[in-house]
Symmetry: C2
Subunit: 768 residues, 2 copies
């Protein structure tokens, strides 16, 4: 029965010693798969074996080489060629495929220049030269100069100030030192928060321009040997990237909430809220060095210092910096490749899989490594189809364009087909960059068990243990480490106590956003990593085939592993008798989030008391070094009353309903789901809508596009998730009334979710 070569001794040890509930790993081997009868399980396992046997690493390598051979950013000839190549492939493999095109605002650099004036002038290179042994790095044709898309136009000359990561706390530190960035150009390093927040916050603080550089401490020789000796960022490497204010809404800046079809009503450029007003430019650490050397003023706080061989100062610079960024603000087409295999019995239930195909330059890691795994799945599924197998539900495979500038292709497609997707989509499964090491999985927690089941049945290429055992091992080791993050410790404790390995919650940064957060489609995001040096070439011209086959996945066995994990999830979701969701996992996770919110209030109260005491005592004033005066911190507001009771109640009731559902499901599963076809269909249709119940149509405060009340990208973190965002972000911003208000809003969607769950339970119980 076992389809994988695990190392049974090790797996057994993991089970034996880390807690009984680790036995949860064991399902899928003997007991039926979630949503399947015993016979269905057996059939599905055979199907998956046949699927696995059709996966060929050599093909993934070939496709990757081809697709990354030329620059493939939005608007480039090779981007279109890649779409057409895939269209042909899907059709060859038996899929019903087409290209869906959207015209989106996509500015490209017209003039980009940067110079330091004064006694030690320096003109920035803003160029990534060829490196030895990297075939594509010498290509100049169609390569755009490094830039940050959706920054403002500008030609500014001003002193420079160093703002560390450019996050809110950094500006507080500067204020304590009497440094104001109004009228200045700021230089900030990558890290500490999403790229796009850096110029946004700089703009809000009055800066007239923003430079973002990669410090070698975390992204260069400080992390490891640089390319081509090793995989890490060389001195001239630049991280491109979008700086659209995607926390407002992703997609075409001119068509928020609607598809950018030819007849769509578009905003005027000046009214697009997600486009910045100030010029922004990403630079290499080679170019950053003379700029940082020009800074005077206080030595930067210890945590602000990178690995360049200089003393980091906060500024201002001893000479002005002249920055020019001018763009061509034109429309460009994005080409989404959409391929469909119609479901045999449930054609109106869609199981959707996506990965983007546009890169910043050659995009071998990001996104093509994930995209070729998706293609391999599609080819294998096509072969199974040709051999006579039919999915019960409809499979939709999509290769998105325009992800890099702002999730354009996926968002416009999802907005265009919103109604249909909300009626039909059961699952959206995303991938993006794929590397080697450990499976990283995030998504809707009702899908957590499915991920665990599938990961238990796929062998890790390096260790031959199951992918799940390796995930679990990493979590246990990391979570027990001295410097473990609280969330990792929490996850590890869950995994130790038993049960499934927790999956992460999703924020943003890839194409799941519109599906999950705008439409409420249950979603997953998958990829292998953790042993990569991928950061070193992220969004640079060195993200190439040659780099990937040295440092990414040389044998493409992890490409195959991703195809297996994603393919099995797709096939099971397509074929299951009952859509493979488990709501108790969501309920348990929600309990953790609610507990975190209580702790957040408690910690905030303690910290505020402490700060107020210290301020009142005059202690801060007494520790000031007159030679390097750092003023006391600004006084935090008092912590007001926050009413989380509705949330507590909703979570508690949900738990009971989830338990009742679980019992009803188990009882019905034991009968082999002996329900009338219409009743089963009704049940599955309602299951597909469950995640949507977690949406509130008014959306999150100030950003109505984001409707999911449990998962959202943080306003002040960017890609990183904020769970229960209405409440959590209000607490973090010290808006106590808003926190109470959104506790009620969130409780309402949870109550709706619970009511729907109770209906599912009733359907499972109902005997006709």
């Amino acid at each position: 029965m076992t389809r994988l070569k695990t190392r049974p001794l090790l797996a057994a040890c993991l089970l034996a010693t880390m807690g009984s509930a680790l036995a949860a790993n064991d399902h899928g081997q003997g007991s039926p798969m979630l949503g399947f009868t015993a016979q269905g399980t057996s059939d599905q396992q055979s199907l998956e074996q046949r699927f696995d046997a059709l996966l060929d690493p050599a093909e993934q390598r070939e496709w990757l080489k081809l697709m990354s051979a030329e620059p493939n950013q939005v608007g480039s000839p090779h981007d279109k060629a890649n779409a057409e190549f895939m269209l042909a492939k899907f059709r060859e493999w038996g899929w019903d495929a087409h290209i869906e095109t959207f015209d989106v605002l996509y500015p490209t650099p017209k003039k980009v220049a940067l110079e330091l004036q004064g006694p030690h002038p320096y003109t920035a290179k803003l160029h990534e030269p060829a490196v030895q042994g990297d075939a594509t790095s010498g290509i100049e044709k169609d390569v755009l100069p490094p830039y940050n898309v959706y920054g403002g136009d500008g030609d500014v000359t001003a002193p420079l100030v160093y703002v560390n990561y450019g996050m809110p706390d950094d500006y507080k530190e500067l204020a304590r030192r009497g440094i104001d960035v109004r009228g200045k150009i700021v230089i900030t390093r990558y890290g500490g928060g999403w790229r796009g927040l850096k110029p946004k916050l700089a703009q809000e603080h009055g800066a007239v321009g923003c430079l973002i550089y990669s410090d070698p401490r975390n992204d260069g020789y400080g992390a490891g040997d640089t390319y081509p000796d090793g995989g890490w960022r060389p001195a001239d490497g630049v991280q491109r990237g979008s700086v659209a204010d995607m926390q407002q809404y992703p997609g075409d800046p001119l068509t928020p909430g609607i598809g950018s079809t030819p007849d769509a009503k578009r905003l005027a450029l000046k009214d697009a809220k997600t486009i910045l007003k100030i010029p922004v430019l990403p630079i290499s650490y080679a170019d950053a060095t003379p700029l940082l050397q020009s800074l005077t003023g206080d030595v930067a706080p210890a945590g602000w210092r990178g690995a360049l061989p200089l003393t980091y100062h906060v500024g201002p610079s001893n000479a002005p910096v002249h920055l020019t960024v001018l763009s061509n603000w034109g429309q460009k087409p994005v080409y989404d490749v959409i391929a469909t295999l119609k479901g045999s019995t449930e054609p109106d239930q869609w199981v959707v899989r996506g990965n983007h195909h546009d890169g910043w330059v050659f995009g071998a890691w990001d996104p093509l490594s994930g995209n070729v795994a998706l293609l391999a799945e599609a080819k294998a599924i096509g072969t199974l189809y040709k051999q006579g197998w039919r999915p019960k539900r409809t499979l939709v495979y999509a290769s998105w364009d325009g992800e890099e500038p702002g999730l354009l292709g996926s968002t416009e497609w999802a907005e265009t087909h919103a109604k249909e997707l909300q009626q039909k989509a059961v699952l959206y499964l995303n991938s993006d960059t794929n590397g080697h090491g450990f499976l990283n999985a995030g998504g809707s927690h009702s899908l957590q068990h499915l991920v665990n089941e599938v990961a238990a049945g796929v062998a890790d290429p390096e260790t031959k243990a199951s992918v799940l055992d390796r995930m679990r091992a990493r979590l246990l080791v990391d979570g027990n480490g001295k410097d473990a993050r609280p969330s990792t410790k929490e996850d590890a404790a869950v995994a130790e106590k038993g049960g499934d390995v927790p999956i992460g919650a999703l924020g943003s940064g890839s194409d799941f956003s519109a599906f999950l957060e705008h439409l409420g489609v249950a979603s997953l995001d998958l990829g292998f990593g953790g042993e990569n040096d991928s950061d070193g070439v992220y969004h640079s011209a060195y993200d190439s085939f040659d780099h990937y086959v040295r440092f990414g996945d040389p044998t493409f066995q992890y490409g195959v592993a991703l195809s297996k994990v994603a393919g099995h999830i797709m096939l099971r979701t397509a074929d299951a008798s009952v859509v493979p969701l488990r709501f108790g996992d969501f309920s348990d996770t929600l309990d953790r989030y609610v507990a975190q919110l209580h702790k957040l209030i408690e910690d905030t109260r303690k910290d505020t008391d402490k700060q107020h005491k210290l301020l009142d005592s005059g202690a801060y004033a007494l520790v000031v070094d007159p030679a390097r005066p750092v003023q006391p911190p600004a006084r935090d507001s008092d912590v007001g009353a926050v009413q989380l009771d509705p949330l507590d109640q909703a979570a508690k009731q949900l738990k009971q309903s989830a338990q009742a559902y679980e019992a009803a499901y188990n009882a019905r599963a034991a009968t082999g789901f002996d329900l009338p076809a219409a009743q089963l269909r009704e049940l599955n249709a309602l299951m597909a809508q469950m995640e949507q119940a977690l949406s509130d149509q008014a959306g999150l405060p100030g950003r109505p596009w984001f409707k999911h009340m449990i998962y959202a990208p943080g306003l002040l973190t960017g890609y990183e998730v904020k769970t229960v965002p209405g409440v959590r972000e209000a607490l973090e911003a010290r808006r106590w009334d808003e926190a109470s208000q959104y506790a009620t809003v969130t409780a309402k969607v949870l109550d709706r979710y619970r009511a729907q769950l109770d209906r599912l339970t009733a359907m499972l119980k109902k005997t006709s």
Copy 2:
């Protein structure tokens, strides 16, 4: 009544808001000083005012300039000249002074060379060139090349391995990577533990040579602007220093435990346990760079990476390194200057003050900044004496020689006069480097209240608040910081709850060691700092007058403040009716130490369980990256039974006795200490012996020289203290039986201490 210009508003705020017990600050203003009657307090305050008025910053500057004008290491002409200069001064000021000379083993470099061989050869400069604006940096006469005294002789050629800080955990990390240092030369960076441990541990692990360099991350441009732009270590700056195994015993390596008088029996060189066998050399980061660049192998773990612009590897190097260190193993004289003012009524009670006068090169910061404060006290006291004031107890002022190589002058003097000191010494008050900012005070906790009283009565030069208020403010701010060390948090909690600002416990690294840890004389160590850039020139040729007056104490107001704090402590101890000790403070501190030991056992048990579970689960094996294999950690031994009951009991009983003493003291103080003179004398004589009761004649395990059972330098930390060392170090080394054994030994000395305290209480209560 107030002798100082505090900022009363701020002080009041500190009192009002941080807890009632902060009112403890307030004493000394209205209530009598510890050990004094009301009248005595008033007289003493007048005396201190007169003393303060005699302190002149200009004189300290002048003496500093003179004494740091030429190299003044042991054996140099200027070292002797400085001693003779001070002798003349003491005599001029009315003291009974002499120079006491000891002949000690003091090796000096005969040949020092370092080169990298192979394809990219490099010959190390090993030289600190002159820098602009630093007058003495151009001096070559009498300057020794940078070296580590008491390393072995050797001429070795071997591959190089990078061992981070060279501490035990670092070798464990190397072992997990399969790296062995046997037959290799190791390169280690300064920091993370005492210098001398680095070659000692390297030698124990089989290395044949050891290089120690200053990484610019914490000691160079990563910390701040380098000299002469700023105060931090320039690329060619080298930290010299002793690598004698002072955790065995300090002082002349050939005369452990006895004074190195002409007739003393000396060990043969080969039998001196504190001298290393392998060659050791300190180098600059300029010289370290090509060596680190030559390293191959794994990228060093994240925590091992410094601020040089290269990828840190663990090694081995791609070419051999050739290291030569040969010394002249001769005797050199050390010149201790000893000055005495005889006590009027208690000539056989000695209050001893010391600071060393030998430096590594010019020694402006270290040690002369503290030494000139001591001289200023002596001059002022001499003037008071000439004006007719007489100390009740005898004052002994000492300026030690040979501290840098191994506390030679102080240790030999203390060993020579051991018997007399144990009979007569009431207090040893040490200082060393003095900077600006905050008073750092460490010592016997029975002296904690005296330090607080005195610090409350001296104004901080920068803020005009009291020195104590500023200490307290720093502790509150630091202790409430996110990254506060547990001990700082603990101290802050104590200070917040009320009462005195805790003083630190003493380990080693300056001249108090023989007094406190060998003889059991209650000791203090004082100095201002916390706003310095002193680390940047520590033990280098750039520790100069010019550096000090820019970055140390430009106005010498902190020199004056140190004179005031130290001077007041000396005068009060000399004049008090009852020796100003408070034993409840010691008892409270002991309780904290005992609680720490319990927590250490508990934490060790938890960590061990966790590690065993992880090892048994096979999780470590599953997280190994095959491309960069890091083996699971070695299995920690099981935690055995440890019996701390005797210690718990002793601490509990001591608390009761301390409370009884306090009550008796207060009652007697209220009567103005109306005891017969003989009884008071007996009381004071016994008080002077209290600290000695904390010694055990057998000493600590394996190092009998260290007899104090509460404070010792850590065997594996060097300068840093280990409190209750017999127990704590046994626990840390996982020697469970030894921990139980030393809990009993420590309990015994505590019981003796308590019995002696009960006798004091009885004496205070006794009515004749």
